[in-house]
């Protein structure tokens, strides 16, 4: 029974981080219909920005979070402006390939700059776990989950309650219509991509206290995040969060019963079943 609770808690906490990264994918797809293959590489960038701030300024990932967010937003904004805006409206596979190309560039640029060595960040006071009877809760994962909740709520408020959010939603529904309403669509695209990348970067930053940092460390999450975003319904933010938590728990239980290395297989199976049965995802409209 303890193993059951332990696996549930681990799964939910991990699922939260997945959910945030997947939310970024969903947001980007929702607004621009771009499948961002560079998402995993940008998670890695988030990790390295956090790591550099830790080394240079000696600040912990939690203190560094606002700086990470700003950096990632600027990166995302520029990527959209320089690379993707010129490709808006051309055949979809070009955008796919472009983001794939960017992923190769980013990943290997990190390798050139930081070498393949494993790096880690230690956060004083967060090395120990919280004990509840025989169940242990990993402190950094718990904190990460809380941050994810705050940031997801922030994005919800931004999208639903502000003029900028309305403009983003309008663009996602109908770019031409939005243009007629005086919305500068390319700029909205840049902001939306920036926000999506903030999600990737923050997920990366929140993973640093519990995971080694190396040039391909974000890749592990790349396809998984797509699985979650599609499972939840591409473009659907609540879907991404719900699916993230579900996949987190599923993964945790399949690791418990089948062993860690097979859990990926279950996740990909779910993905293929989703594509076949309901490609619009859990919370998506009927296809």
């Amino acid at each position: 029974m303890n193993a059951f609770f332990q696996a549930s808690i681990d799964g939910v906490l991990m699922g939260g981080v997945y959910a945030l990264a997947a939310l970024g994918i969903s947001l980007i797809f929702g607004v621009m219909k771009i499948t961002n293959f560079a998402h995993g590489a940008l998670i890695t960038v988030g990790m390295y920005v956090t790591f550099e701030l830790y080394v240079l300024l000696g600040i912990t990932p939690y203190v560094a979070l606002p700086l990470v967010m700003v950096t990632m937003f600027v990166i995302g904004y520029l990527v959209q402006k320089v690379f993707l805006n010129p490709l808006m409206g051309v055949a979809g596979h070009n955008q796919l390939l472009l983001t794939q190309g960017l992923a190769i560039v980013i990943e290997n640029a990190i390798l050139v700059m930081f070498s393949a060595n494993y790096q880690s960040v230690s956060v004083p006071g967060f090395e120990t776990a919280i004990r509840l009877g025989s169940i242990t809760i990993n402190k950094p994962k718990l904190v990460a989950f809380l941050f994810v909740a705050i940031i997801a709520a922030g994005i919800y408020v931004l999208l639903e309650k502000t003029d900028l959010g309305r403009a983003i939603r309008a663009t996602s529904v109908q770019p031409e219509g939005a243009t007629l309403m005086g919305i500068v669509v390319p700029r909205i695209n840049q902001i939306a991509f920036g926000l999506g990348i903030v999600c990737a970067g923050v997920a990366g930053a929140l993973l640093t206290p519990t995971q080694y940092i190396y040039p391909t460390s974000g890749n592990t999450y790349s396809l998984k995040c797509f699985v979650i975003a599609v499972f939840g319904g591409l473009g659907n933010i609540w879907g991404a969060i719900l699916a993230g938590l579900i996949i987190g728990v599923v993964e945790s239980f399949s690791a418990l019963w089948l062993g860690g290395s097979w859990s990926e297989l279950i996740v990909y199976m779910i993905f293929i079943l989703t594509l076949i049965i309901k490609p619009t995802g859990l919370l998506g409209k009927k296809g």
């Binding site: 499948t35 690379f83 190309g101 290997n108 050139v112 797509f226 290395s261 297989l265």
Partner: protein
Amino acid sequence: MSTARIQEANGHAAEETNFLGSFLKKVTISTSNGKLTLPQIIIIGVISVFILLTPQMLSNYRLNLVISILTTAYFAQCWNLMSGYTGQFSFGHAAFYGIGAYTSSILFVDFGINPWIGLICGMMVSGIVAALIGYLSFHYNLKGDYFALATMAFCEIFRVIFKNTKALHAASGVSIPFSKKFALMQFGSKAGFLYVAFIMLTMITFGLYKIRRTKMGLYFVAVRENEDAARALGINAFKYKMIALIASAMLSAVGGTFYAQYYLYIDPTICFGNTVSISAITPCIIGGVGTVFGPIIGAAIIKPISEITNSALSNFVGMNMVVYGLILVIVIMVMPKGVIGLVQELRVKMGKKKKTEG
């Protein structure tokens, strides 16, 4: 379809017939285009002779590069057959490549079955897997990004299975014993491998060239250009997508077996890694997707560049891949139709100039 839409459709019936007519014309033109002219045949002949003479002229190290250009071009042609001709972008072609490599290697190492038979078995297994993937994807109408993600996921599934199954040698991979026997599909020297790779590439390229002039080639292109219009003309899109995928997968498996026999070592990442799938796509993008010679041109550009940057910048590990990625990005942004598309555009422009001058 709602009644309103049906009425609308009826109202525009004449327009639609027109559209289908022009669609048909466009597809037909695109297939009859690109018949080889005499100068082109001469150029191809000269390059072929040059390649066949390289073992006499180059060091073993350089030969390695020529072989890798040929095999990359071959694998890219396999991808081109399916993704270039029918427009279904696969991001997991490594799956078929890896299955080919693993089937022949495991049959040989663990069961003592001759690699030539293993090659055929690999093709069969790969074809069956492709039929399954294709049925699931095309029957449920996965397209564009969804299809790309699905193929990627299938490929990852194979990587995870091969990495974690002891009977399949798990993460440690398979080592194939060295021999020099043709009977064991090892061609003695680098030159031997080069000739075989050359023959493989020539055959697939000739096949692709011929197919474009058949009815099936016409159907492939019709499905790529506009699947709905193709269906409206009575083309069984599902059937032709399946044919292209299965043929492509079986040929990719041959590439995998060749790799295993040449390098004598395979592991799950070498076979099923994402970079393998990308290595099939990049040459097509650079040379021109869906063209007969694009993948070869692409491979002849990207492989030497990759090799040169690798040795020139050997102090910066990863720099060659940065260059590789940048080339991909720049090609997509500046010349999305690849080298062949660019040449055609220039020719049209030159032709116009000549006309105005004349």
